[in-house]
Symmetry: C2
Subunit: 367 residues, 2 copies
């Protein structure tokens, strides 16, 4: 127990270290120069300036260290920053797509731009709304380009140029299309009949939206650590599968927190996932196990953007009573159990322990 406790403490310590390294890397003057005058640069770094876990760069760095390539962990920092920026541009665009107003407890990019148009440029309400939308598209595009440029900052040597080349190719040729495929399914499922939606489709959608980028974090970390351009190397694939399963578990836990979490820890209003009608395995389970009058409640409240606090609370109680939250928690744990064997080929090391601690964390976390 003491050892596990220590692992956990060290995990949080290392996570904090990654967070501050990635943040410093991204907010360096040298980085911000690329944006020129205007507020694009300020908006492009808004989410980076807010406290966050920076889980994806941590997985990349831990995986790189776990390959035994300890000396290459420093060289992996630009790639770690790149993956955080990839995640960030998808957030900027997804927030716009979902018309979300808050991210990490503060206004989303399109809302920031909208506020500025109203306050500084004196635009009227409609013009500032449109301005916010238009600028957020451009900010996400600038962040996307930045993520690629960051990856190309990987120092060669010690890393081979063709390793970087291959990693960029995987990111832009495979990972981003998958992320976009996941987001576009999410948009379509929003209006699909929940009872007609198979659980495998929902899990696949959240794997595309989350698991794929976690898998990439580990694959890139492993390729950098072993300095190999062979993404099909069984050792690289094993680490990719590990992170892929943990990423899916992470997202399942996210869905649970989206129901039971509070505004302070989540940074977005309580029950917003219910109001948005987000398709989750929790809801699917609840529909499959509810009586007609319970289904009626779900049909009425889920997806109703103006649902009252008491209606939200009623749905939360139903999801708890039906065991739907526990069902998804179990599902998340099963993914972690599928993940762990993929670490078996790795030598023992402090970095391997960090990966194990991460696997435990993804289903234990409350924020």
């Amino acid at each position: 127990v003491t050892s596990t406790q220590t692992h956990k403490e060290r995990f949080f310590l290392e996570l904090k270290k990654t967070e501050s390294m990635v943040r410093d890397y991204l907010l360096a003057d040298r980085q911000l120069e690329r944006f020129g005058p205007g507020h694009i640069g300020e908006l492009a770094t808004a989410y980076i300036r807010r406290p966050a876990k920076r889980m994806r760069p941590a997985v990349l760095l831990f995986t790189c260290g776990a390959t035994g390539g300890d000396g290459r962990v420093a060289a992996a920092l630009p790639a770690a920053a790149a993956i955080e920026m990839t995640h960030t541009w998808t957030l900027t665009h997804d927030d716009l797509i979902d018309r979300d107003e808050k991210r990490r407890g503060q206004p989303t990019v399109h809302v920031l731009a909208q506020n500025r148009a109203r306050q500084e440029f004196d635009y009227d309400s409609e013009a500032s709304y449109l301005y916010g939308q238009r600028i957020a598209i451009l900010v996400g595009d600038a962040q996307h380009a930045w993520s690629v440029a960051l990856l190309l900052e990987t120092p060669c040597p010690p890393v081979d140029g063709c390793v970087v080349h291959k990693i960029v190719g995987i990111l832009e040729g495979q990972v981003v299309p998958d992320l976009i495929g996941g987001e576009s399914l999410d948009i379509q499922y929003e209006r699909a009949d929940i009872e007609g939606l198979p659980e495998t489709d929902v899990v696949r959608m959240l794997w595309l939206k989350t698991g794929v980028l976690y898998r990439f974090s580990a694959v890139a970390g492993a390729m950098l650590g072993w300095n190999t351009s062979d993404a099909d190397d069984p050792r690289v694939r094993a680490l990719g599968n590990f992170a892929s399963h943990c990423g899916t578990a992470f997202q399942l836990q996210d869905d649970i927190l989206g129901i039971v979490g509070d505004e302070k820890t989540l940074g977005k209003p309580v029950g917003s996932d219910i109001r948005e009608g987000k398709r989750t395995t929790i809801l699917l389970h609840a529909f499959a196990n509810s009586l007609p009058e319970e289904k009626q409640l779900l049909r009425r409240v889920v997806g109703d953007h103006s649902a009252s606090a008491s209606e939200i609370a009623e749905v939360q109680r139903l999801l708890d009573r039906k065991g739907s939250l526990e069902y998804t928690a179990r599902l998340a744990r099963s993914y972690v159990e599928k993940a762990l064997p993929h670490l078996e080929g790795l030598p023992s090391s402090p970095y391997r322990e960090l990966l194990e601690a991460w696997a435990a964390f993804v289903v234990e976390r409350t924020r």
Copy 2:
């Protein structure tokens, strides 16, 4: 005269060849597989399936050939396709930002997605409008990633991996931020007082929106042709400057065609640049040279989305009478004159002649 005539004919012939090579490369099954099921792939290739000049890839290939690296022109095809895709993703997002409904005579990406939502998914009018907007954001993102992936398909050998590396870094680290800076200025200038806007600012904005990508086309073509990763090589810079000036001239001519061109050749409604209040050197000249009552006409019609056909015709006549169209035509020619000396260091070759023919074309073209 006969020789010039022949150069011109060969230019159009080679342009047509480039167009079909780039089109075939982008529409190959292998390329489309990345998008998976759903209509993202169909929308991502919509503009590619329509007739277009594909001027940027042509400049890249002609420049590559003009370096004397004739044998490397074939190896430059993925980069040529990449640059067309870079241009295409900016069109997808710009069309959405500008709420334009037509591109190359057919519906823009967000309108295509909106139509599909209404016809196939049976969404109501508001839901399908929103769906179109959301999907167009994702399609542009997918195209952006695709452009990077295409560039990485450059065969190494004959090209060095670090040359490709450097070209991707310039595109995503410098060119895209510039393009976005230009677009964001365009959005801001839309609401700026035309008379308070210096011509240098407007020219800089259109250089950012157009000249920068033409410069990159030539820089990438030259780096591939000479197989050098040194973007500061004076020979590379000279070709970049040549294309940069011609690109600005191209855009100035575009502004002229935006006033005098007809719907059939432009693919968008007559006078749409006037209705949108697009800030051009033509308008700036007209304002600077108009009497109070003429300014009143301009102020009333320019930027009025519901201006009548007769009001548009009245503004067109005023711009002609004031010599504003001729003023901008002269400005465009002056950029071409600044461009040509940058070709002087190049050996004579059929490719150099194609670049010269392109320089003549950018200010002569009527479509």
